[in-house]
Assembly symmetry: C2
Homo-oligomer: 219 residues x 2
Amino acid sequence: MKKFFNVLKKCPLFFNIADNDLDRMLHCLGAKVVSFDKKYSVFTEGSSAKHIGIVLSGKVQMTRTDYYGNRSIISNATAGEIFGEAFACAEVGSIPVSAISLEPSEVMLIECSHILHTCTNNCGFHQQLIFNLMKELATKTLVFHQKLEITSKRTTREKLMTYLSICAKQVGSDSFDIPFDRQELADYLEVDRSGLSAEISKLRAQGVLETTKKHFELL
Amino acid sequence: MKKFFNVLKKCPLFFNIADNDLDRMLHCLGAKVVSFDKKYSVFTEGSSAKHIGIVLSGKVQMTRTDYYGNRSIISNATAGEIFGEAFACAEVGSIPVSAISLEPSEVMLIECSHILHTCTNNCGFHQQLIFNLMKELATKTLVFHQKLEITSKRTTREKLMTYLSICAKQVGSDSFDIPFDRQELADYLEVDRSGLSAEISKLRAQGVLETTKKHFELL
DNA sequence: AAAAGTATGTTGAATTTTCAACAAAATCGG
DNA sequence: CCGATTTTGTTGAAAATTCAACATACTTTT
């Protein structure tokens, strides 16, 4: 596990956990590392929701696909980020979303009950873990509010501009990269891809923005 | 505070807290009760996010209104339910939503830092409170997933049917009441009210459902 | 370097939504 | 109980989205 310590130290779940406690803790939690090739499922919609995932390397995407085949992208997670924690913490039977690896990825899986319910060894770090988990859940809720703010807009143009404005604000610059290609961006904004492309062209023609591939610049 | 004990005992924040501890605890937390007339703001968009709200009586609605005046309804909270906890827990500067009383309401406000950071009295219930808060945040995330599932649908008809199906499932019956009037339902589904009314009429004509006011029946 | 596959942009037709305006029904206040 | 207000339903026109089909650009593989 040692080789992942640099990533884990950045993971909010382990905030305030001393370095030399980490190894013992992971053992106590029964943490395991699993590798996934590109486009493999980490979690499948409908499967049981016992584990919290932590991305160690690569990229994992949370999606849902409805009855008619419309894919909806919930979020992307990269190294150090947590996913699936809400379903595991709420102790629901099955997950309403899928998690797939966008690249070859390594993922740490921790059974959530090991975090929530104090082990017999009385390790003493459970309280800190639960506190960290709570913080993470609160932060994730804010991310959802942001996504709702974006998708509640009524037109493709407004959705896109709201999303790009948030990106610019987060980066602190009008020039930035987004983590989505065009189809993914459409699935994140919940709009039609070709309509999105058309709208981007229009915005470019009107001098509102410049873009090449995943790079955007607001003018 | 005694007169609210029946409500507070049903509040998930106080799960597993002994009855005779509750009074002392509320005092220690600096909980205060505030009354609001109909249509008053409990929280205003942009204000600081320090307090968790608990509805003691009445009804509180979380909304956001965008630049163009489109109102978006996030959720309704009735007696025993918590609101605003995510912003307080995440310790963000300001709230991105408003909370307004739909009826004359009484609300308990607790400064979140009093829950998160152990007090000098060493009361010993903070760990349980934090655990409960974590559970609540996880549950709320599931509610958000549900709202996203609904609003990610592309047509008014699909959004409505998805929402009604979820209602029916929760109640365990095809006959149920919804907590929204038509305008509120439209704002929750993020669609135009008149379009929603037209769609409901169509569904009625097609024998898919029956409805009078807030009562719906799926056929 | 060519071929195959993938991603992006473009277009027009069909569908759907929004918007505005109004009528009818229900509710509220005195 | 009546008048005033609010809610709901209806309609048609304008705007926007979706859908399908295709052309072009870009990547990857062999």
